[in-house]
């Protein structure tokens, strides 16, 4: 399987977080790593993609174009790996296009981090009470390409946060999405610990 791990790390804090995350990843997997950012990280391939607006977010909503592999695991820089991440790739091999974990805030608490106008529009465009998904840990394969193309277009509408744009895109073009449990992406994640906000 042609696979690897991607990070987006622009700025000093994100760089330091990515260095720490890769160190923990290496305890479990020797998969190749690509870091999109302004500074290379030892042992990882490096790419400094177009600098448009907030470059970190632009790269994140264009992961499918930036990746070096057919199957990719994207990890936010502020993650720490504490276990085996193979299950996501196994599900991609089985035919899933995308593997993600739900966010903790749901229902009325969802997407509170968006700007007022974007949230208002997003909530109007989405169907009744969708599941909010966290974009900080994602396994994706070639089948997710149409969704990523739409994600990028949706993000261009406000050029701000990425999760609202992701949900708008997902509900316009559903893909085979497998959902994993909290151990793979949460503050107390047993497999992926997500230190939310440490890059800001």
């Amino acid at each position: 399987m042609d696979k690897g791990v991607m990070y987006v790390a622009y700025g000093r804090k994100a760089y330091n977080e990515a260095v720490a995350s890769i160190e923990t990843l290496r305890k479990f997997h020797d998969w190749p790593v690509l870091v999109v950012g302004d500074k290379p990280i030892k042992g990882a391939k490096h790419s400094n993609w177009k600098d448009r607006g907030t470059p970190g977010r632009w790269a994140k909503v264009n992961l499918n174009r930036v990746t070096n592999w057919e199957y990719t695991l994207f990890l936010d820089a502020d993650t720490r790996i504490h276990g085996d991440l193979s299950l996501g790739f196994t599900l991609l091999e089985r035919g899933y296009d995308l593997v993600m974990v739900p966010s903790r805030p749901q229902h009325n608490e969802m997407l509170r981090h968006l700007g007022k106008q974007e949230r208002r529009t997003t909530m109007r465009e989405l169907p009744l009470d969708p599941l909010q998904l966290n974009t900080g840990v994602m396994w994706f394969g070639p089948g997710a390409t149409p969704l990523f193309e739409l994600w990028s277009k949706e993000w261009e509408r406000w050029k701000d946060k990425d999760q609202g744009a992701f949900l708008r895109a997902l509900y316009k073009h559903p893909v085979n999405l497998a959902v994993l449990g909290w151990p793979f992406n949460s503050q107390n994640g047993e497999v992926v610990e997500h230190r939310f906000g440490k890059c800001v």
Binding site: D97, M123, L131
Partner: protein
Amino acid sequence: MGKHWVKAIKTVIRHDLQGAYRTYQPGDWFQCKNQELLELLAQSLVDTTAHLIKDEFSGKDSGVVILSGTKAPRALKTFGIGLKEALAPELPWKRNLIMSQGASATIETVALGLMRIDTGNDFPGWEMAAMLNSATQLARDVGTKEDKARTLELIGGLEVPVYNTGLVWLRRTKATISVVKIWRDELGSGSDPQHAFIRAVYGKSVKLCTLPHEWIGKWIRA
């Protein structure tokens, strides 16, 4: 009378009897009683799903499959939705709701779920929809030791969420026919219902629209 779920379309500030207040932004959902509902509708501050269902829902080639011990929702005929009792999951219609394990649903819940698995001209659509059983429950938390071992062997991990298998909406497609076959076989061999569903869904790949735990659509009534 009961309460109604409504969606704020403008900012709504609500006060309780102690004087505390809460602000609801457009897109937020909340429950209110009849009198407040009438006031909010008169001020065009909220919307209900009644319009949405009335304007957009058609029950054509759709139905509810009731498995043993489950009560059928009322007023299915009014919406042109069929009803069938069965011993195991099956897909007699293009769009189906399979109800089991004593689950209950209003006609609005049935319709909202069926709308979620619709397709459109440029819209490929979801093939299935099901709610999470809880925000945190995992396959490792339910079932027998044997069930967990078999799921681990087939799926590759037990850190997958548990679904509420009492209400499962399915559009009849090649993928869902395959999912239902595995689901039936697993149930037939005496597997725990939640592990049976997990093995069916994660053992193949399907466009499953995962709905949040306590999906608001479950509680909607006109």
